[in-house]
Structure formats: structure tokens, C-alpha cells
């Protein structure tokens, strides 16, 4: 077996050093009833690299990759172009095969990257501090609800209908046995502002509210000014949590921090990371300085070494499970280190100017797509303001339309029927994302595909 260096002679010599007569001696603590005599049945035996490659490549060919067709699918995961140098750098063994930087003297590479990452995320979101990443946007959002409860000592969280329904589901699951109470809005396809429920939120906001969770741009692509909502939250002593699924939007629209948010969470996959069928992704989490000790997840901080040279360490770990055990702010241990590295490298390649250009190009492609689709009979574009994602209402149910278009090698978007099963008023809704990867030809093919399927 190519990954196992010990030879038969090594094994013999080592057993002799140990004083064991056979390998079975070393498993003598295992109860006899649970000892397996040989390899487990029903599984194949070892394979050469060539054979594994053939088998897995075969499976991969049964999927339709995004880059092989006009692609407009978003809703929490986005197809962006990632520069080749990003994937090259994250595969350097010193990054790929290192551990969490618990020994900072020999992990300054990872730690400095985390410090750069935290700074980038804090600036993008308009916050003071960011942590070293979470599992994904959905778990980061739930952690924000917990953090708001710890800060305000209140338990009612108002969740906007514009929040990704999978994020809402995850939050419902994870708060099921905590004291948190979620009050969730119901999405409506309002023309001009789909999924917007600011009025409903204000009607629910009271002195028992720990936080309001809104997504911006929301699931339906609608972009809102949250400044007044932030002021209303603060007047009641509640926190405003702003979530996002498309981090590129922060290169074009006013930051949540500027609008008055207290905690900003989101999905960072778009920068540096591929679609990967849903994971691994990258949860982003940022807040104001004053709340840093209530933050979940790892934090990297600056310090000096014994010779006075600048260095970085994991810090404020008294919040964490390996110290606090059952009193920890969160049970999280592993985060998304390598995804954060990819994000930081890509963001460094972009810089301020590159990110703004990328965001502008995304917006331009989305506007172009929306305007073209608006000319197709049977399609109504619902959004007024949007970034790179918008919602359309079709003249018939969207799910079969998506399937029919997929058969023509067009991936047209996400039907709301899939995200909200059993809600008739959403069944004709479809959310499309257009990023920088979309071409004029893609848009034309999409419009023609819709025209044919809707005819």
C-alpha cells in the first residue's frame, strides 16, 4: 500500500522492541466479541492510483459542471472566476498540511494570513473586528443569534422573510433546545421589493427583542437601506444582525456597518472558493469592538515575541470550548482555515479597485440579464433594486421550467418551489444570479430558452 512506509521486517523488529508476539497482542483490550478476524466484507480491496482516478472520474462525468453551459444559479452559492494563482498557493504543503496554529512560533504563516483575513472582512463589512471564520454562512448566522442573546440577555430574535430559507431552517434546528425564540417572516413576491418585510419587522420589534436578522441583498436579490431599521432596533435595545450570501455585493453596495449593523455575518464562498456542491464554504463573522469578548470562533491577534519582534497568536481563547468546556460561547473547534486562505489571496489579488470593478461587472451583467428577460413574454422581473441576483415571476410553475431548461443545457436559476415547497404563491418564482462569468451569448441563449419553454 503506497501510503504505508513500514515493511514486514520493520513490523517484526518493532513488535520485538515492544515485546509483543503479534499485532493482535496490541488489540488485546478489545472485547473478544468485537474483534474482526479479517477485512470487512462487502468493501473493495486496495486500488492503484490509476484505478481510483478512473472510477471517480467516471462518477464526476455524470454531473453537469457550471462552466459547461450558460449558468444563472445562485441563492447562497455563486459561480465566480477564481484566479489560477489562488488554487496554486493554497496547495502549498505548508498551508494545506498544517494544523490549527496552536504552536505559534512555527505557524506564523497561517496566523499572519488569518490576521490579514480578519482585517479584510472587518473592512468589507464596515465592522471593527472579524473572527478567523466559521463553517459557512448559515452557521455563522445562527451563532449571531446566540451572541445577540448573550449581549442583550433577551431571547426573541426576529428573522426576516428575506433570509435564505436554509439559513432559517438551520437556525430553527439549532435553537430548538436553547432558550432562543425565533419569530420568522413569511416571504411575499411583492413587485418592486420581493421578500422585503421591513414593516412587519417593525411591528414585531419590542423591548423583548434581542436581535433582528435581515439579509441584504436578500434571498430574492432585493437591496434595502437598513439605516432606519438599525435606529429602530437600537431604540428598543435590540441588535441588528445583517447577513449576506454574496460577499461580492460589498464591493458595490453600502456596507452593513455604515447602515448601523451590530453583527455582520455571511457566506464568503464567492471569493477564492469554488461551488463544490455546497461545501466546504466559508462563514464570515464580524462585529463592533465592544462585543468582541462575546464573539464565537477563533481569533488571531498581534503580539510580540521574546525578542520584541511582531508576531501573531490565537487569542481570547478563554471563550472557547477547550478551556471553558460546558461554559464556552460555542462548541466550535475547527473552522474553515484553508477557505479563508483562498479568500484572502483572491481578495489581495483584487484589492480595493479590483473588487469594485468585479462588483460593477457583476451588477452590469445582472442588469443586462434582467432587461433582456423582461422582453420575454411570460416573464415579469420583480426587483427594483438588486445587485447580481433578481427574482422573476413566470407565467407557469418554475420547477418544471428549470428542469426543461436543464435538459437543453441551460441552468436558469433556483425555483422558489424547491426552496419553499408547498407555498402556492411562490411556485412561479425563480431567482437568477448573473456574475462576471456570464457572457452575451449566455444571456441570449437563456432568453431564447425561456421564450421556447414558456410559449
Amino acid at each position: 500500500m503506497r501510503y504505508l512506509p513500514l515493511t514486514a521486517a520493520d513490523r517484526r523488529d518493532m513488535l520485538a522492541t515492544i515485546g509483543a508476539s503479534s499485532i493482535d497482542d496490541l488489540f488485546s483490550d478489545v472485547p473478544a466479541a468485537a474483534r474482526l478476524a479479517g477485512p470487512i466484507a462487502g468493501l473493495s480491496n486496495h486500488m492503484s492510483e490509476m484505478e481510483v482516478e478512473r472510477l471517480l472520474t467516471g462518477l464526476s462525468r455524470q454531473n453537469l459542471p457550471a462552466s459547461e453551459m450558460p449558468f444563472f444559479v445562485g441563492c447562497g452559492a455563486y459561480k465566480h472566476h477564481v484566479p489560477a494563482s489562488v488554487d496554486h498557493l493554497i496547495q502549498r504543503g505548508e498551508f494545506l498540511t498544517s494544523y490549527t496554529p496552536y504552536q505559534p512560533e512555527i505557524a506564523q504563516g497561517t496566523l499572519q494570513v488569518l490576521f490579514e483575513f480578519q482585517t479584510q472582512v472587518a473592512r468589507l463589512t464596515g465592522m471593527d473586528v472579524a473572527n478567523a471564520s466559521m463553517y459557512d454562512g448559515s452557521t455563522a448566522t445562527t451563532e449571531a443569534i446566540f451572541m445577540a442573546r448573550r449581549i442583550t440577555r433577551r431571547t426573541k430574535a426576529i428573522v426576516s422573510a428575506g433570509l435564505h430559507p436554509h439559513y432559517v431552517s438551520a437556525a430553527k434546528t439549532l435553537t430548538r433546545f436553547t432558550e432562543d425564540e425565533l419569530v420568522c417572516g413569511e416571504p411575499k413576491l411583492t413587485a418592486g421589493a420581493p421578500g422585503d418585510d421591513l414593516d412587519w419587522i417593525l411591528s414585531q420589534l419590542d423591548e423583548q427583542t434581542s436581535c433582528v436578522v435581515v439579509q441584504n441583498p436578500n434571498l430574492f436579490g432585493h437591496v434595502a437601506d437598513l439605516t432606519d431599521l438599525a435606529a429602530a432596533c437600537h431604540a428598543k435595545g435590540a441588535l441588528l444582525v445583517v447577513a449576506f450570501t454574496e460577499v461580492v455585493s460589498l464591493g458595490a453596495i453600502r456596507s452593513p456597518g455604515e447602515m448601523g449593523a451590530d453583527i455582520v455575518v455571511g457566506e464568503g464562498q464567492s471569493i477564492g472558493n469554488g461551488l463544490n456542491f455546497g461545501g466546504p464554504y466559508l462563514g464570515l463573522f464580524a462585529t463592533r469592538d465592544k462585543y468582541v469578548r462575546q464573539m464565537p470562533g477563533r481569533l488571531c491577534g498581534e503580539t510580540v515575541d521574546a525578542e520584541g519582534r511582531r508576531g501573531f497568536v490565537l487569542t481570547l481563547s478563554t471563550r472557547e470550548q477547550h478551556i471553558r468546556r460546558e461554559k464556552a460561547t460555542s462548541n466550535i473547534c475547527t473552522n474553515s482555515g484553508l477557505c479563508a486562505l483562498a479568500f484572502t489571496i483572491h481578495m489581495t489579488l483584487l484589492g480595493e479597485e479590483g473588487l469594485r470593478r468585479l462588483a460593477a461587472l457583476n451588477h452590469a451583467r445582472a442588469v443586462q440579464t434582467a432587461e433582456r428577460l423582461a422582453q420575454v413574454p411570460g416573464i415579469e422581473v420583480l426587483n427594483g433594486a438588486f445587485f447580481n441576483e433578481f427574482t422573476i415571476r413566470l407565467s407557469k410553475q418554475a420547477r418544471p421550467v428549470v428542469r426543461e431548461l436543464a435538459e437543453r443545457k441551460l441552468l436558469a436559476g433556483v425555483s422558489l418551489g424547491r426552496l419553499y415547497p408547498g407555498v402556492p404563491e411562490l411556485e412561479n418564482g425563480l431567482v437568477l444570479a448573473a456574475t462576471e462569468t456570464v457572457s452575451d451569448d449566455d444571456i441570449e441563449a437563456l432568453a431564447r430558452g425561456f421564450a421556447e419553454v414558456l410559449a
Binding site: 499485532i23 488489540f27 466484507a41 455524470q62 460546558e326
Partner: protein, 526 residues
């Protein structure tokens, strides 16, 4: 004196000249200093060219971001150099032994990386129509099937994103199962040697944590555990092999007692590498166990994630498993989400969704490549070699270090030492760890588990050769003897030869600096 390949004499030199001067750059030969991107980059510098887009009228609703964001960019050559230079300040498995106990730092095969990047896996969207991702669902199904067969458990939840997330998944299922029976049990028993995530997870699910003591052999005290079982106990969270690197010989009796009390057995699968292919947790009476794909199945640790923590379940807990999961009907693979679960009779008790999508697909592909490469025969050899390597270390070091359970029989995949052998020297576990850095190793896990004083937990894994182990043993023996001789010069203040000397963690926590600020801003803040 050693000989180089040309046969000329070579030596290390006396180094005195080199120590005598400071360089203008702060670099020391190949040891290169590197500033932050904010100190070398600029807002208008970039390493990405983008095509011109169509001319459009903005539809951002007047919410354009006008103020500077404060990002700094670099050109591509500068970016490549910056991150390459930073990478060289890291220790990694690719460079040498990484014997971090409980973390299973084994070789990460590059085939796995190549497979995960196939467009058919890496470039598909989680919300594509399921007919366009049948191969991806087949792969998830394949990984699930291997995990079930290797553990002897009937079902698997794929979506948990890491070990602690898997623990949460298992405990949520246990809580849901009790709720479904109309029982409201309040307590979870956790051995004192457990990982910190165990009590944190139990507390998160609304349980009160009760500790179980270890016996003098480093195992769970069966009688003490039985005494604590009762109608208010929901579950026992147990790690097997445990965090002392020992197999729990009473595991079957423990499970039987727990089940008799109406509770469930949660097993922390962090140490599955020691028994994969030799013991199936299902045969030990386990009801739920997470499997760290980033440990046993060698998906890379990446400097702190991403991990992946699928959970295998017993029949009793399967109905409560989270969404989504993959179901095979004939030759077709279905992704069971909320809608399909509500419509079916067997899964409508699911406790719900834990994350946005379907788990760590990128890690599933890597784990699949790893499993298929080893096969059932190779995985069994993995456990055997991992255990052999650890016992070899234990046998070769226990006369100069102190192995608190070294006389209670063989260890599993990791060897535990305490700091007893350092008694009276003033040298600590931390000092030994830092001295190992100067020897060119990543230190072992320090001060964990908490059940022995000054713990040093050494896990070599199966991918280390005998000669690597011999060199490590030689080095650690030397350090142990030196420490015991009372000579603390190599220890106090170590490491001396790393990119940084010891870092001031107290100062970092007292006045946290968690992001870079422009020098002017920084001065104003002070």
C-alpha cells in the same frame, strides 16, 4: 562531521560569525521576514484583469458604496511571493513528523486533491436540478456506504461540517429521540478525559454535564458510571479509544448498562484511526458517532479546517437524523430535503437541517479517494500500523519519560506521558514542546487530556516510517535525559531556532489587536 554526496567533508561550522551581525533586511538567509499586505500593497494595485462589461444604468437603488473600503491589493507576482514567503513560516506534515495527539496528522495524498478538483465535483452548484448531479449524489452515497460498513452502523448523516458539528448532530438526534418518547431527561455523563467539545455540545443541547472519573488504569470507571446512571440520564458521551490513547475494555458492558437505563451511547469518533477495519463501533453498542474525515480519512487540516464530521447512527436514532441525505432508488439517487422527508413515513421525525446545503462535498471526494485507495484490507493495515507505531514510541521512551498507564497494557494509536519525569527540574511540558521545535518537529499535544499532570500526548500515525520514528525517539530521549540532568539551557526560552521566539500570549489577550489599522489611526487610539 558528515559527508556530502560529492564525498567532500562538510560540517555545520561554528556559527559564531553568523550570530555576530544583524542583516539590513531582518532576513536570515532562507528565513525571510514578510510584512502585511496592508504594509506592502495599495488600494489601486491589483492582480486580476477583468473584461469590460455592458453599459447599463445602475439599479442599486441609490445604495452605492462611496466611501473607501480600505482594501489593499498586490499584483500577481507580488501576491504569489507574499503568500509563498508566509507559507515558509509554517511547519506541516509535508515537512516532517507532526505527532499531535488526538489530531491524526497523517499524510494527505495528492490524488485526493486532484479528484476533488474535477469539474464534475468542484464546479457543480448545490441547488442544480438533481438530475444534473447524479454522479455527485452517487459519490456521497458511496462514502456513506463505506462509513456504515466500517462502523457496523445502519445509517449516516452527511451534512455536519466538522467533528464538533457532528457531535451536535448526534446529540440533537438523541434529544429528539427522547422528546419523541415524551421523556425529558436532563443529564449527560461525560468522562473527565473527554475533549472540550463534548461538554460544550451537551450544554448546547440543554443538558447538564456530569463528569465520570477515570480509574487508575486510565479507563472509564464502570462502577462509577453505573452508579450515575438513572432515569434522568439522556446519554453518555464517550471517546473510544479514549483520549489517554487506551481502548475502553468495558465498552460493551458500558453500552448495555446505558441502554438498560433508557439512555443512548454517543461515541466521539476522533480516535477511529486506531480501530478502523479491526473493530466496528456498532458491535460495541454505540448509537451515534461522528467521524472526522480530516483525521481518519486524511482530508487535509488546512491550518484549521475545513473539516467534515458525518455521523453514523443506530436503528434507534436513524428516524431523527438531519436533512438532507441521499437515498438510492434503483439506479436513481434522490436528495431527501424537507419536502421529500415530510412526504415519507420513515424520515418525518428528522430533527431538521443543520447547514445551508449538503455538507462538505470537497471532503467527501477526498475521503472517497482515500478509502478506495486503501480498500478494506489497507484500512485494516492503517489501524495496525498506527497502533504499532504508537506502541513502538511508548516502548522506546517509557524508561526515560513517565508513562502513567504504560504498565497497564498496550496503548492504541497514541502514547501518553506525564511530566513526572521532570519533577524538581523546573522544566515543564511546555519547555519540552518548545525544545522539540528546535529539533525540527511539531510538538505533541500538551496539557491534554486533563487527567494526568503535564500531559504529553504523542500520535505518530501510520504514515511515518521506522527511521523517522527512530530519529524522533532519539531526539526526545536526548531531551528527556538532558532535562533530568538539570541542564535547562535548551529548554527555558526555547524555541531558539524558529521564525519567532516565544510569543507573549498574555499581552495579546490583555489588549487585543485583531485587525490592522493605519498607523495614524493606531496612534490616535493609543
Amino acid at each position: 562531521m558528515s559527508m556530502n554526496r560529492q564525498g567532500r567533508e562538510s560540517g555545520v561550522g561554528d556559527g559564531a560569525a553568523a550570530e555576530g551581525f544583524e542583516t539590513y533586511t531582518g532576513n536570515r538567509g532562507l528565513q525571510l521576514e514578510e510584512p502585511l499586505i496592508f504594509e506592502k500593497g495599495a488600494p489601486d494595485r491589483f492582480g486580476v484583469d477583468l473584461p469590460a462589461g455592458p453599459k447599463i444604468a445602475s439599479r442599486l437603488g441609490g445604495l452605492d458604496r462611496h466611501k473607501p473600503i480600505g482594501l489593499y491589493g498586490l499584483s500577481e507576482p507580488e501576491t504569489v511571493r507574499h503568500y509563498t514567503r508566509l507559507s515558509r513560516q509554517n511547519y506541516a506534515i509535508d515537512m516532517g513528523l507532526f505527532p499531535l495527539g488526538s489530531c491524526t496528522m497523517k499524510h494527505n495524498p495528492r490524488l485526493n486533491e486532484k479528484m476533488a478538483r474535477l469539474p464534475g465535483f468542484g464546479d457543480i452548484h448545490p441547488l442544480q436540478p438533481v438530475d444534473t448531479v447524479q454522479g455527485a449524489l452517487a459519490l456521497i452515497h458511496l462514502v456513506g456506504e463505506w462509513l456504515c460498513k466500517l462502523t457496523g452502523m445502519p445509517g449516516v448523516a452527511i451534512s455536519p461540517k466538522a467533528g464538533a458539528h457532528g457531535e451536535l448532530c448526534g446529540m440533537l438526534a438523541i434529544r429528539a429521540a427522547h422528546d419523541a418518547r415524551g421523556e425529558s431527561r436532563k443529564l449527560v455523563l461525560v468522562p473527565e478525559s473527554a475533549h472540550g467539545t463534548n461538554p460544550a455540545t451537551a450544554a448546547f443541547c440543554g443538558y447538564e454535564v456530569v463528569g465520570i472519573p477515570a480509574n487508575e488504569r486510565g479507563r472509564v470507571d464502570l462502577e462509577a458510571l453505573k452508579a450515575k446512571l438513572g432515569p434522568d440520564v439522556a446519554a453518555v458521551m464517550i471517546t473510544n479509544p479514549n483520549t489517554c490513547g487506551l481502548f475502553e475494555p468495558d465498552m460493551i458492558e458500558i453500552s448495555e448498562a446505558v441502554h438498560a437505563a433508557g439512555a443512548f451511547v454517543y461515541c466521539d469518533g476522533a480516535n477511529f484511526n486506531a480501530i478502523v477495519g479491526r473493530v466496528r463501533p456498532g458491535d460495541l453498542g454505540v448509537d451515534a458517532m461522528h467521524i472526522n474525515l480530516h483525521k481518519t480519512f486524511s482530508t487535509p487540516h488546512g491550518g484549521g479546517g475545513p473539516g467534515s464530521g458525518p455521523v453514523v447512527f443506530s436503528e434507534a436514532l436513524m428516524p431523527f437524523a438531519p436533512l438532507p441525505f441521499v437515498r438510492k432508488t434503483g439506479e436513481h439517487f434522490e436528495l431527501v430535503e424537507e419536502e421529500q422527508a415530510h412526504a415519507s413515513t420513515d424520515h418525518n421525525e428528522s430533527f431538521g437541517r443543520m447547514v445551508a446545503f449538503h455538507g462538505q462535498m470537497g471532503m467527501f471526494v477526498r475521503a472517497a479517494a482515500y478509502m478506495l485507495s486503501h480498500g478494506a484490507d489497507g484500512l485494516r493495515q492503517v489501524a495496525e500500523d498506527a497502533v504499532l507505531n504508537a506502541n513502538y514510541l511508548l516502548a522506546s521512551l517509557k524508561d526515560v519519560m513517565s508513562a502513567p498507564f504504560g504498565d497497564t497494557g498496550p496503548c492504541m494509536h497514541e502514547a501518553l506521558f506525564s511530566d513526572d519525569f521532570l519533577g524538581g527540574t523546573g522544566i515543564t511540558t511546555l519547555d519540552i514542546a518548545k525544545a522539540l521545535i528546535d529539533e525540527g518537529y511539531h510538538p505533541m499535544t500538551m496539557y491534554f487530556p486533563l487527567v494526568v499532570h503535564g500531559a504529553m500526548l504523542v500520535e505518530p500515525t501510520e504514515t511515518e516510517s521506522k527511521s523517522t520514528l527512530d530519529q524522533f525517539i532519539n531526539s526526545l530521549r536526548g531531551l528527556a535525559l538532558l532535562a533530568k540532568s538539570g541542564d535547562d539551557r535548551r529548554f527555558k526560552g526555547a524555541p531558539f531556532l524558529a521564525p519567532r521566539r516565544r510569543l507573549d500570549e498574555t499581552a495579546a489577550a490583555r489588549k487585543p489587536v485583531l485587525s490592522w489599522r493605519e498607523p495614524a489611526q493606531r496612534q490616535a487610539a493609543e
